[in-house]
Amino acid sequence: MAGSGIVFGAVSHTYRPMRGRPVLALDGVSLEVKEREFVALLGPSGCGKSTLLYLLGGFLPIESGSITVSGKRVTQPGPDRGIVFQNYSLFPWKTVKQNVLYGLEKQRMPKAERERRAQELIDLVHLKGFEDSYPSQLSGGMKQRVAIARTLAIDPATLLMDEPFGALDAQTRTLMHEELLAIMQRSPKTVVFVTHDVREAVYLADRVAVMTARPGRIKEIVDTRPPHGARTEYQQTPEFTAKVDYLWNLVRDEAIRAQEEEHG
């Protein structure tokens, strides 16, 4: 089986709003993500990191440059690239179980098998007992776990995450980090994770790609793998703090530039 490495080759993207001038959001972004690598895209808001993720997902047309996954050019969305959004994006009219079943139905999985698979995923994200609840009855953290279960159910080789924990409170976010790492250990995937949280990026990712303020370019790529394996203890080490400080200094300048631009 071919690997699921991702190659961004000189990707540029221009937003053309209905009113107003076109905006260059991404300017010649090149980046390689190895199979089963966890890469975080870190940058100030408006730097085009989400746009880059949507292009990889096949949701927006690639106008300039190319993106390949396992050697195949991205032209449209596909079940090989699962996505988790910040706003959860659950089907509000479907129950937890029905949401998780959706992708399996689309993959034409036989009924008995998909029932078993859905239950397996619901158990994995610790939502046993909430199968028949509607999203509106769940907390933010629970909703995001349903979204993760729905995406993982069809077992995509690549997982795209668009600030998935950005709307959660600090405690829930920490728990979700641990859960995500545990899930990734059980079934490793290539992950592209968009965030503006420096600690989150260092804690979760193997490498962090720092992006510049608009137009988005790759400013620097920093290796953030823990030196001695285990991630949970990593956060308490001086190496971790040093990495966070180093990245924060990189992001800081861009964040200031982004703010200045916004205020004219």
């Binding site: 949507y54 997902g57 096949g58 949701f59 449209q76 969305p77 596909g78 079940p79 690239r81 699962g82 996505i83 959004f85 706003n87 994006s89 089907f91 509000p92 009219w93 479907k94 129950t95 959706y102 992708g103 689309k106 993959q107 509607y134 999203p135 509106s136 009855q137 979204a147 729905r150 995406t151 069809i154 995509p156």
Partner: protein, 249 residues
């Protein structure tokens, strides 16, 4: 709902009924113009017994059902298609916006001219009048569906067709159901108005026939019947709407 107690909630209605009974009896109003409620009730009973209410009611129901029903089917299809395709939107939007403020009853004479005096013109009048609120609600509902919901479905492997049926339509449903509620209200107005104007059957016809014949107690009985039907149709619809949208908290 201000009060849980059903008696307290409908007390104003009861007071109105008592007033309606007393005012004509003490000649505070002319009883030939406003017969006492008990006389109206007796007239209603005899209309029910000799079948006039039933036969005309069935005829009205037929017009109402097919008029409203076709507007719902066509309106949802058109509204969603306008949201789906910019080309269809560009063609249909100006028409919809121009027709929206038109008084619905103004259509009735046009429909009579085109379709004659029978059921066809009444069904068409109702359908045309109810069409616009349904189109607009489906259009706004479909356009309001979160982009990331559509993307999530596409990433699960859904085709464009599947996205339309499985994401856009259910996503637009709350707005569509609210639009249909407006359409139900309009349908009753246009139903009665179209039957009042011309025709040989229907509850609206019965009102004008009894009114012209000076049988005012029976006329009021039919007016009350139509109002009650409208009220209960709305209540039943609200109940159906709440049950359909249980997933919204």
């Amino acid at each position: 709902m201000t009060s849980e107690n059903i008696f307290v909630r409908y007390l104003p209605l009861l007071l109105l009924a008592v007033l309606w009974e007393i005012a004509p009896r003490v000649h505070f109003v002319d009883p030939s113009e406003l017969p006492p409620l008990s006389a109206v009730g007796a007239a209603w009973w005899s209309l029910l017994l000799d079948g006039d209410l039933w036969t005309n009611g069935v005829s009205s129901f037929f017009n109402w059902f097919f008029g409203l029903g076709s507007s719902i089917v066509v309106g949802i299809a058109l509204g969603v298609m306008m949201a789906w395709s910019t080309t269809i939107d560009d063609i249909a939007s100006p028409l919809v916006k121009a027709l929206y403020p038109m008084p619905k009853s103004a259509l009735i004479p046009v429909m009579i001219l085109w379709l004659g005096l029978g059921a066809g013109s009444k069904i068409a009048s109702i359908a045309m009048s109810c069409l616009l609120p349904v189109i607009l609600s489906a259009y706004n509902g479909a356009r309001g569906v979160d982009q990331t919901l559509i993307w999530s479905a596409r990433a699960c492997g859904a085709s464009n067709r599947e996205v339309l049926w499985e994401v856009i339509l259910p996503g637009a449903l709350p707005e569509i159901l609210a639009g249909i509620r407006n359409a139900v209200a309009i349908s009753f107005i246009v139903l009665v108005a179209s039957e009042l104007l011309v025709g040989q059957r229907g509850l609206g016809y019965l009102i004008s026939f009894l009114g012209e014949g000076g049988v005012y107690d029976a006329m009021f009985a039919v007016v009350i019947t139509v109002s009650a039907l409208g009220f209960f149709a709305d209540r039943a619809y609200l109940y159906f709407m709440r049950r359909t949208l249980v997933w919204r908290e």
